[in-house]
């Protein structure tokens, strides 16, 4: 670049400097601060070299595992948002219902030894029960709570969704107790398989595989079936879709069913990873998964998958990579901080996400 060219670009910049307000200063400070923490922390950590290749690989694999769970949950958010323009605040809790119902089956199987004898069959049965439960509950919430708000604009639907979230949580607390219940922990799940020369726990491979299969099925449904096409049409333009003879009610029900099923799989995976269920467990992963959905571009199915994976990896690698390097004690406590910061940064600076630019233009 020549000096002349540089000068030319500099002049309008200077004149627009007068409109560079306090607000812009804060926003730029936020951007620069986050970048500095990320870069400075990474450099610091890598120079210190406290973590070896094995550890980084473990972080990465755990990130991919969590990311695929987030992706499953994010799919529910993104599809419902696409069709209804509603943040289904209760979606995390629908995941919790799946985990809870799976728990009762899993505990019974663990007690009878079935979980150790017929591993695949038992896991499939647990998943099936969880999927059935969370799909049912997703459909019920749609029918009883969300349908009356189909044509209401403004904050009312979101507030109702917050209410649904509380209602589900507290119902489960009342019916099944407030305590944390330990998920069964069969020995075979903690055994490792060798991947690229590193040992990876079977559980994590199982979770990733379950998520990949579910997402593949979902992708085929959304892209190839008639109902999936109708769904995409409705999320493109609900009115036009209705004019073309698509039964929007049916599509909405179908969307909730799909989202609920994905949340059921995610719930069981999440519960097996953390080995526990309790009534509040769906909240944090739910919010994070919403962040993942926005990150990928809300309304976009592949976006939700990518966003989930990205969030999982950042959250898993982040504390060690970014925070340890700048000398923060106990960085793992701040895992949620990284996820929420990512969520907020996305909402502020790129609300249309990676793959969702078309959607965002229509929104604005």
């Amino acid at each position: 670049m020549t000096d002349v060219a540089r000068g030319r670009t500099l002049v309008p910049k200077l004149s627009s400097l007068s409109r560079f307000t306090f607000v812009d200063v804060v926003l730029w400070a936020l951007r620069i601060g986050v970048v500095m923490v990320v870069v400075g922390g990474s450099v610091g950590t890598l120079i210190r070299g406290r973590y070896g290749a094995v550890q980084w690989f473990e972080f990465l694999v755990f990130g991919v595992t969590m990311g695929s769970v987030y992706a499953l949950v994010a799919l529910g958010y993104t599809m419902v948002y696409g069709v209804l323009r509603l943040i289904n605040f209760a979606h995390g809790d629908i995941m919790m219902t799946g985990a809870f119902s799976g728990y009762f089956v899993a505990a019974a199987f663990a007690g009878s030894g079935f979980l150790d004898r017929e591993r695949v069959l038992a896991m499939l049965a647990i998943m099936a029960v969880a999927v059935a439960t969370s799909t049912t509950i997703a459909l019920l919430t749609e029918r009883l709570a969300y349908r009356p708000f189909r044509h209401v604009r403004g904050l009312a639907p979101l507030i109702c969704a917050i209410g649904v979230s509380f209602f589900l949580e507290q119902t489960f607390r009342g019916a099944f107790g407030a305590g944390v219940r330990a998920y069964p922990d069969p020995k075979w799940q903690s055994g490792t398989l060798s991947v690229l020369g590193f040992g990876v726990p079977i559980l994590q491979i199982m979770v990733v595989a379950a998520a990949l299969v579910s997402m593949a099925v979902l992708y085929v449904i959304v892209q190839r079936t008639k109902m999936g096409t109708a769904m995409r049409a409705v999320s493109e333009d609900a009115e036009a879709a209705a004019l073309m003879g698509i039964d929007v009610d049916k599509v909405v029900v179908f969307t909730f069913a799909l989202g609920g099923a994905m949340a059921g799989v995610a719930g069981v995976c999440y519960a097996f990873i953390f080995k526990q269920v309790y009534f509040y467990m769906g909240f944090t992963p739910g919010i994070k998964a919403f962040g993942a959905a926005v990150l990928g571009g809300i309304g976009s199915v592949p976006g939700a998958m990518l966003g989930g994976l990205f969030l999982g990896i950042v959250e898993s690698v982040g504390p060690a990579l970014f925070l340890d390097g700048i000398g923060i004690p106990a960085p793992y406590q701040l895992r949620d901080l990284i996820a929420f910061t990512l969520l907020i940064m996305v909402l502020i600076f790129r609300p249309y996400g990676i793959l969702g630019e078309r959607m965002a233009k229509k929104r604005a």
Binding site: L30, G154, A156, F283, I287, L347, I348
Partner: protein, 593 residues
């Protein structure tokens, strides 16, 4: 809860023609409500509280109410005026509701449900089927459900002179029975009042004779009121001149304040403590009301400002190693010096939180602010901030405020502090609502783009909403810190934000009296019914859903809001875009006058 459910049932059944199918729907819904209450554990808890000792528990009363409302729902939806036509569907509705409960008892006897549903205990079974075993207990449930429903239908159709007194009498018995502890504490021992107390209550609760007395007195009072006094009172109010009406209103406000001042003295420190908590939530409610109710900025990170107020007070005044005084040259401040600083700190944080989310709208804003609130909690809880803020243990030993040499240690005295703070805050909120700024907020709420196009400075207006809302929360947080004399992160969960949101929605968005009603209903009531405390969040969830569906303007809506919702935007909660835009235009033209 049941009234709202009845309404839902009504709507669901509206489409069907046949009265019997409609009755079946009503019965199913109410039966599900009863079974839900039992499974979730509300009914067992209610069963533990007597309305009339050894005769009727609160749980029984709830089941009776369900039976009665089955009939009432059927009656309300049937147009035919002859009672004999109403009776069979009511019988069906009550019977179906009873049958569902009977099915639950049967299932409890046959299946090992207890292993999964912890609330389904043998005690509950005994309470539900009267200890009568499978076939007989179920039959009793169905028959009594059916009969209660007929009674309910009859009551709904009864002339007002009969219906009102019965309902009022029953309500009084329930109130005097359920809150017997509080009422008994309020009655001083010795003298005539003590004799009165002993004639109605035992130490356990209401006696049968006492309940009858209360019922008769209350019914008689209601009868006299509806038959003779009401008409005359209305006549007199109608004849008042505007000046007299204004004076009457001022007198009512004065009486209300006087009642608030005197009640804790009469009722003791427990009531004082509850009222103080309600006062804190009213403070926060008024703050969030500015943000959500007036400016339409749904802020779910509101608790962060509460936390800032509390922590600022703590580090400025506490007698601990985390206080600023212990490691800097800043002297330890008195509460009165620290409170304004705490409020100011909240405003600063409110504005700082407001800036990045300026461009984020609607539901995205809700999630973004919630994320900010969670970040604050995570940071405060972590080891990173522990040297400054005490980590999970928090900061202890915050001194109580002093006036001269006198320490405000008693909850009642702190209540007066809260009351004074609330009064000042309410004055500000009231003036803001009717100010130029308040109308600008409302314009932004109705349509941001139109508001901006008409010359409202969005940045300024929104930041003022965040900052001023935060000030109220900071004040509440500051009082909260001295109330507990300690602060720790677990007091500042997202639940607090949701709690405040729920109370302004129940009371009525944008309405000051609504905030008070909402706080009393959602904070005071669960606090008085101690054992139901764990169900308060269930109650909030239901309240949010039901209010949004049935009465989006709240229990005590502001006059503007009511006008908008009823006359201009029709039935829908927040209207169509064109109407909203028109409304915003009108607001702005108001503003330019």
């Amino acid at each position: 809860m049941s009234a709202a459910t009845v309404d839902l049932a009504d709507r669901a059944c509206h489409r069907e023609r046949s009265p019997f199918r409609r009755a079946l729907g009503v019965g199913l819904v109410l039966g599900v409500v009863a079974v839900y209450g039992a499974t979730v554990g509300i009914l067992p808890l209610m069963d533990a509280r007597w309305v009339i000792v050894d005769v009727v528990s609160l749980g029984d009363a709830a089941l009776i109410a369900i039976g009665l409302s089955a009939g009432a729902a059927v009656a309300a939806r049937t147009t035919s005026s002859e009672f004999w036509r109403l009776a069979p569907p009511s019988l069906l509705a009550g019977g179906v509701a009873g049958a569902l409960v009977a099915l639950l008892t049967l299932a409890m006897q046959v299946l090992p449900l207890r292993r999964i549903f912890i609330a389904l205990s043998p005690d509950l079974l005994k309470a539900l089927n009267f200890g009568l075993g499978a076939p007989l207990g179920g039959a009793v449930l169905i028959v009594s459900g059916a009969l209660l429903a007929v009674l309910g239908a009859a009551l709904t159709r009864a002339p007002e002179g009969l219906r009102k007194p019965v309902i009022v009498g029953l309500a009084f018995v329930v109130i005097f029975g359920v809150f017997q502890e509080l009422i008994q504490i309020m009655m001083p021992s010795g003298g005539a009042i003590d004799a009165l107390r002993q004639s109605v209550y035992t130490w356990e609760g209401l006696t049968l004779g006492g309940a009858l007395t209360i019922f008769l007195l209350a019914s008689f009072g209601a009868f006299v009121w509806t038959e003779w006094l009401r008409g005359r009172a209305r006549e007199r109010v109608r004849r008042l001149s505007p000046a007299q009406r204004r004076r009457a209103k001022a007198a009512r406000v004065f009486l209300f304040v006087l009642l608030l001042v005197l009640l804790p003295i009469v009722a003791g420190s427990y009531i004082g403590q509850v009222m103080m908590l309600v006062g804190l939530y009213i403070l926060m409610g008024m703050g969030l009301n500015l943000e959500v109710g007036l400016a339409g900025l749904l802020d779910l990170g509101f608790v962060a400002f509460f936390a800032v107020g509390a922590y600022a007070t703590a580090i400025l005044t506490a007698d601990s190693s985390h206080a600023l005084a212990s490691y800097t040259a800043i002297p330890s401040l008195s509460y009165w010096a620290a409170m304004p600083i705490a409020v100011l700190a909240s405003v600063v944080v409110g504005v700082l939180f407001g800036i990045p989310v300026l461009g984020v709208r609607g539901d995205y804003l809700a999630v973004a602010t919630m994320g900010l609130g969670e970040i604050v909690r995570v940071v405060v809880q972590s080891d990173m901030a522990a040297p400054l803020l005490g980590g999970a243990q928090g900061i202890l030993q915050i001194p109580k405020p002093r006036i001269g040499g006198h320490e405000l240690a008693d909850p009642v005295q702190l209540f007066y502090l809260t009351l004074a703070a609330s009064a000042v805050a309410a004055y500000f909120a009231w003036r803001l609502e009717n100010s130029r700024l308040g109308r600008a907020w409302m314009a932004v709420r109705d349509d941001e783009d139109v508001a901006q196009a008409l010359g409202i400075n969005l940045v300024k207006v929104k930041l003022l909403a965040h900052g001023l809302g935060a000030a109220f929360a900071g004040l509440a947080g500051s009082i909260f810190a001295v109330m507990l004399t300690s602060v720790y992160p677990s007091s500042f969960q997202l639940l607090v934000s949701i709690n405040v949101l729920a109370l302004i929605i129940v009371g009525g968005m944008g309405s000051l009296p609504g905030v008070m009603v909402g706080a009393t209903a959602l904070v005071g009531l669960p606090e008085l019914l101690r054992e139901f405390g764990e169900f308060r969040f269930l109650f909030y969830g239901v309240a949010l859903i039901v209010m949004m569906r049935v009465r989006p303007e709240g229990l005590w809506p502001s006059a503007t809001r009511r006008r908008e919702l009823r006359d201009e935007a029709g039935e829908s909660a927040l209207g169509e875009p064109e109407e909203a835009a028109a409304l915003a235009m009108r607001r702005v033209s108001d503003l330019q006058d």
